[in-house]
């Protein structure tokens, strides 16, 4: 079911070298104003974000809209330049000014799957056209016959069968789930090592979401692709990714193995996210929401973000220190870490109260 070259991919299962590593990433969007005397303002979209992607593993970025998830994906796809910080690909840092050659090598290896399959395919071109572009650009095919063979193989890899029928279809003839499969096939065409999936299922129907998630799971497991999975649904992060990072207003607040994050969330924001997710289990609960999270409100403006921990205006456990500085990372064991003053050295007691 895979093309021959795919089989040549080295098995990286035991090596722990990160394919893509992000170190202390910052991104500011400067707002240009007409008045030249006005002070320039900037949207501080991402602040000090670090993580790494490994072959055959998925990392989920979870947060509300405006938390900077998509900005991070776009920086990794090199659609934006980071303001500060480094992106390492196979241990080598990416430079700002780089030859077209190395940029295209990078882009070939890091592919993106967008949220909306209705707008990420060109309506006037058929499936064959969409899939032939990456093959030709990268010189993977020499003639038309080879090209068709490659495309059919790609379609089969994303379970669009019979592939012979799908190859000549136009986007409007496909359902949402089928379109998303074509988008994934197009990303796979360049034989990437990393897939950046920006909310790949949130536009799809409930019954189709699972199929697409399972397809991505299969690609991750069998073809050892590293996946950055961006979602606002923490339950699907648990299903799909080994590691989950929770972002709030551009800052990383908690991270660790997905099961730990969902079962023993520590940060007040993670708890809020989890308690907000629809959960029919409440039907069985007799008490009327004793563990209800009182934190309400919305993500603050990132032009003038709150000082210190950006969650403090919404946080039910906010202390004076939260306003002053962003908490340092506290390791809670098992790769589980958190940025919260409740768990810092200074304040052991409140954290224990919270855990009870």
């Amino acid at each position: 079911m895979s093309t021959s070259s795919q089989l040549e991919n080295p098995d990286l299962s035991q090596t722990s070298e990160a394919i893509l590593e992000v170190k202390h990433l910052y991104k500011k969007f400067v707002m240009h104003r007409l008045n030249p005397l006005a002070r320039t303002q900037a949207v501080q979209a991402v602040e000090n974000v670090s993580f790494a992607l490994y072959a055959g593993r998925a990392t989920a970025l979870v947060g509300e809209s405006g938390s900077g998830k998509s900005t991070i994906a776009r920086i990794l796809a090199r659609l934006y330049e980071p303001t500060e910080g480094e992106v390492h690909f196979h241990g080598k840092p990416l430079k700002k000014q780089e030859g077209a050659g190395s940029l295209s090598t990078y882009r070939r290896n890091v592919q993106m799957v967008f949220q909306d399959p209705f707008s990420s395919l060109n309506p006037v071109h058929n499936v064959q056209h969409h899939l032939s572009r990456p093959l030709r650009v990268n010189n993977y095919v020499q003639n038309a016959k080879q090209e068709t063979e490659h495309i059919l193989a790609l379609l089969r890899r994303v379970s669009l069968t019979p592939a012979e029928q799908f190859i000549s279809k136009y986007p409007h003839q496909l359902s949402g789930g089928q379109r998303q499969r074509v988008v994934i096939a197009r990303a796979l065409a360049t034989r990437p090592e990393v897939l950046l999936a920006d909310e790949p299922v949130s536009m799809l129907d409930v019954s189709i979401r699972l199929d697409i998630l399972n397809l991505l799971l299969r690609l991750k497991k069998e073809e050892r692709i590293a996946v950055l999975f961006i979602t606002h649904d923490i339950a699907s992060a648990r299903y799909f990714a080994e590691e989950t990072l929770v972002l709030y207003a551009g800052q990383m607040v908690e991270g660790g193995p997905s099961d730990v994050i969902t079962q023993q969330p520590r940060h007040p924001y993670t708890r809020l996210l989890i308690s907000s997710a629809p959960n029919p289990k409440v039907l069985d609960r007799v008490s009327d929401g004793a563990e209800e999270m009182p934190a309400r409100g919305e993500i603050p403006s990132l032009i003038h973000p709150p000082s210190g921990c950006r969650f403090h205006p919404r946080c039910p456990h906010a202390m004076p220190v939260c306003k002053e500085r962003f908490p340092a990372r506290t390791i809670l064991g098992d790769n589980h870490w958190i940025h919260c003053h409740l768990y810092g050295e200074e304040a052991k007691l409140p954290a224990e109260n919270l855990a009870n």
Partner: protein, 379 residues
């Protein structure tokens, strides 16, 4: 909510059929749908895209435009007789009809009567509530607009006061009255739309995917708001969404639609613990949960049918894991599962004594889906 109030019937939909006339054939978007709604009750309608849930809601509200048309059935509405509040216009042409009978058929109302009916008795919150507001009018004016159109003889003071009261109800401060929609966040726009729907205190509100575009935290706030408002005013609600887990929490009763048919109807508790129809089970387990064991999950195989060529027999049979011979021949009817539970109805031959001795247990349906997952893994 007292028992007596709860038992009061509000809406009785019988055999409602809605067709879309297309050049290449008629599409039966809604087929013989019947259900009853009581005062203060929240009914959730769930299903995949294209199953007819929005068409059904628009049919009830008389909002369909050609090529859609009602091909049959009736929608009986039972208005409150003793309504005396300030937001009620006794002069409406609907009153004459109501003097004579208990109920009115919404589908038979004249356009003048319809105008009196809408907002006073029924209001609707649309799918893209984000875009439902007029971008060049302040939200205060948009609320006043509704009030003015339906209660024309009141002083401006009255409208203003009501507008502030409504914003307060949905948790928006009065100083936002002069804000334009673009100055509000998505959650606040959604609240405004809900406030407008409540303006004349209708007895029935239809909400078509009101929270789909919102973040989880804001979605939770809006849902809490909706359920507390419905309780406060004893308003009945028809809530349409494809997210069944959200519906289970919010609503009292749930109806599942597939390819234009109502395939199952039950209380949300029953639906959660014992989904009867294999499709309901599939929908219920179509998405990962936050707790419980980590399992390889399988969705419902296949895709919904083209409504121009619905498979014979049960429309779900090509995707159904438990389909047998009769499913391909006979169209199942929505019928009570057992004599004692009249609330719970399933349109499935597995529960029909003519074809099956005893309905399957939830474990049996679960087992069938599990075998499917093993098959998927081998592939």
């Amino acid at each position: 909510m007292s028992i007596q109030e709860q038992a009061q019937k509000l809406l009785d939909v019988t055999d409602l059929t809605i067709d879309y006339e297309a050049a290449n054939g008629t599409v039966h978007a809604v087929k013989n749908v019947s259900f009853t709604l009581h005062r203060g009750e929240i009914l959730g309608i769930a299903g995949e895209s294209g199953c007819g849930k929005s068409t059904l809601a628009y049919g009830i509200a008389r909002l369909l435009r050609p090529p859609a048309q009602v091909a049959g059935g009736q929608v009986l509405y039972y208005p409150r007789k003793d309504r005396q509040d300030a937001y009620y216009s006794a002069a409406s042409s609907l009153q004459d009809v109501l003097q004579e009978q208990d109920s009115i058929d919404i589908l038979q109302l004249s356009s003048e009567q319809l105008r009196a009916f809408r907002w006073h008795e029924l209001s609707i919150v649309f799918q893209s509530a984000m875009n439902a507001l007029n971008p060049v009018m302040t939200i205060g004016m948009q609320i006043i607009d509704v009030l003015q159109a339906h209660l024309p003889d009141k002083p401006m003071r009255f409208y203003k006061r009501r507008a502030i009261e409504l914003l307060d109800l949905v948790g928006i401060t009065a100083d936002r009255l002069n804000s334009y929609p673009h100055q509000l966040s998505g959650g606040m726009r959604q609240r405004t739309v809900i406030a407008i729907a409540l303006a004349l205190r209708p007895d029935l509100i239809i909400m078509d995917e009101p929270t789909t575009a919102l973040d989880v935290v804001i979605q939770r706030e809006i849902l809490e708001l909706i359920s507390s408002l419905c309780k406060e005013f004893n308003t009945a609600l028809i809530f349409i969404t494809h997210d069944l887990s959200l519906l289970l929490e919010l609503s009292h009763k749930i109806a599942i639609m597939y390819a234009g048919n109502l395939v199952e109807q039950a209380t949300s508790r029953e639906m959660y613990h014992h989904p009867g129809h294999p499709y309901s089970y599939g929908l219920l387990n179509a998405f990962p949960t936050l707790d419980g064991p980590q399992l390889q999950m399988v969705g419902i195989p296949g895709a919904p049918p083209d409504l121009r060529q619905v498979p014979p027999g049960c429309a779900f049979n090509p995707r159904c894991i438990m389909a047998f011979d009769a499913c391909r021949r006979v169209v199942p009817q929505l019928r009570p599962v057992s004599a004692e539970t009249s609330e719970r109805k399933v349109a499935c031959h597995l529960y029909d004594p003519r074809f099956s001795v005893r309905g399957p247990t939830t474990e049996q349906i679960a087992y069938c889906y599990e075998t499917l997952s093993e098959g998927a893994r081998v592939e």
